[in-house]
Amino acid sequence: MIASAQSPILEKVDASLRLPVLIFFGCAACWLVLGTFLCAVAGFKLVWPGFLDGPAFLTYGRIAPAAVNVLVYGWASSAAFGIVLWLLARLGRTPLDYVVLPVAAAIFWNVGVFLGLLAILAGYSRSVFLLEFPGFISGILFIAYLFIAVWGIVLFRRRAPGSVFVSAWYLLAALLWFPWLYFTGNALLIWGHPVSGPAQAPIASWFASGIINLWLAPVALSAAFYLIPQILGRRLVSYNLSLLGFWSFAVFAAWTGMAQLIGGPVPAWMVSAGVVASILLFIPVLVISINLLGTMRGSFEAWLWSPSLRFTLAGAGAFLLVYVSGVLLALPGVNAVFHFSDVLLGQGALALFGFVSMSFFGAIYYIVPRLTGQAWPSDGLIRWHFWLFTVAVGTGYLCLMFGGMTQGFALSDPGVDFSSSVAFATPFRLMAALCAIALLVGAACFTGLFFRAVLSVFEPAAKSSAPAVTV
């Protein structure tokens, strides 16, 4: 724990952001609990199809997309908005004006996600991955997003003079990429008359990988680039590495989704471009990791006293793992065997729960005490949250990878009938579903802690205590 007195301008910045950012984080935390719960339900349904069956809204084909959408648009995107606004204001030393607009946008966004969840469960989905929300709901989300993004850009334009830090590059890129991505995806696949069937596979693939690579990943990396040097009180290893990492990530990341269409109904060059991009993505991933972990060199014991550093480092580790295994899985011989298997689920879970979520937890553990002016109420719960998530994500990933590999070999062998591929994968799916339960418990620890921290501000006794800030 360290206590630090903040400069008056930063206190003013934090005060102006308190309401919108805490609303975003609070909604995100609730969505996380619901999302991991739905994940666990879907996971058990894959093992025991009779589990909770009967009514239409409980069928696997509705619960599974509901879980993914709640996690991506409810949890991760809401958390990302809070992080984006806070980081841009903090980096530019600019207070946020007209707080009512971002607050309204936050409410609109989260109401939109709630309606979208109901629509999926009620069966109003077109079953396009990550575009399951009906058109009018994605319209609400898009408009809410524009309000948030405009405020982000305003904060950036009003920044205090000086060089623009690497975190701000990623934030600016994410703020510009997301609307283009989301608008294109909805305009071509959901709204009005969608494009004809043959053109949909590449566009849908580009969209789904873009939501991770071009929206959530840049925000997560931005948080890591801010937090690691800030917590340690030192500079990033190298400015040139930052430049190289950012630009090579920007160039390659958008193309990687095509690797998954191997043998699919798209021109061969698209798959090749996706494979090449996935392999070349190794460069930015290596460069970014060296830059982040190199900054840590000699100070890894800081892990012990700083929960936000602990989560951020776990997120950075998952980042390295998910993209390096992505390189191996993109190799055509490997890809053709493991495509259509649970390996894909494992990769997705590691990206979402490992890389994105852990990085966001790190940022939230850093930001909230600065907004409430008080230390986190319980160290023990933070530890529980960290270890539950780390162990569950790690174990779940290994299970889905091993299960997926045996399943992939079974699917590729004409001598093995299909039911064997199910039988091979089932024990691993059961383990993964148990990991989802651990994630649910971890998420509940986090959410309980968050609301205790926020509500304790209103307790009279707490107000008089010293304004200590933990990182």
């Binding site: 009967g54 696997y60 623009v164 043959p198 958008a254 298997s341």
Partner: protein, 209 residues
């Protein structure tokens, strides 16, 4: 980095490059594909969907079948899909001309359905499978779609469309029958329409030999 226009321009350009290649290009090329007409028979490929099947496609989407079932057959030089008898040839872009949306899928938690209509024994069998898959295939993990069916007391003669040969946990008690709802009927019509064995110039029949 202090030159802001450079940053914004670069961010724009990197995204635009992928967008042109992966969105705009398929939009203007694959998006303009037309059905082909067989010169001898005058048949149109891919054949258009019946009204029932087109409605069934919506039921397929609303219940998320695509999260477990792919509809893609990959070429023989790359995978064993042809040897696994998923279809006589690979699927190509034109095969998805009647699909809205295109259910290519990315997981095979369940069987590939590209050519399910070719191997489905009968409409009653499809209904039995949807109603209670475990009673038909041992070890199946497919959910039961009982909510697409109505169980009712038989009054007088059994109904025409009632399912026959139901066994297992959810089989109707004596004196009761299970009839498909409108949604189940159209879904079965859609599943039965899944036949991608027609000839296309760009996708000749493949053999594994």
């Amino acid at each position: 980095m202090n030159r802001m226009p450079l940053l914004v321009f670069g961010v724009f350009l990197t995204f635009a490059a992928a967008w042109l290649g992966l969105v705009a290009y398929p939009y203007v090329t694959l998006g303009q594909l037309q059905p082909v007409t067989d010169e001898n028979s005058g048949d149109v490929y891919p054949p258009s969907l019946s009204g029932l099947a087109a409605t069934g496609q919506k039921v397929y989407a609303s219940n998320g079948c695509v999260y477990c079932h792919s509809q893609q057959v990959r070429p023989a030089y790359l995978t064993s899909d042809i040897a696994n008898k998923l279809g006589p040839r690979r699927t190509v872009a034109r095969d998805y001309l009647r699909d809205q949306p295109a259910f290519t899928g990315s997981l095979r938690i369940g069987q590939d359905l590209t050519n399910y209509g070719l191997r489905a024994p009968s409409v009653n069998e499809i209904h039995r499978h949807l109603y209670d898959a475990q009673a038909v295939v041992r070890g199946s993990i497919m959910p039961s779609y009982r909510f697409l069916y109505t169980m009712r007391k038989i009054s007088g003669q059994p109904s025409n469309g009632a399912l026959t040969g139901l066994t297992g946990r959810h089989a109707p008690a004596p004196g009761f029958e299970v009839v498909p709802t409108e949604d189940a009927t159209v879904l079965a019509a859609y599943l039965l329409s899944l036949k991608r064995d027609y000839p296309l110039p760009e996708a000749p029949q493949e053999t594994t030999e």
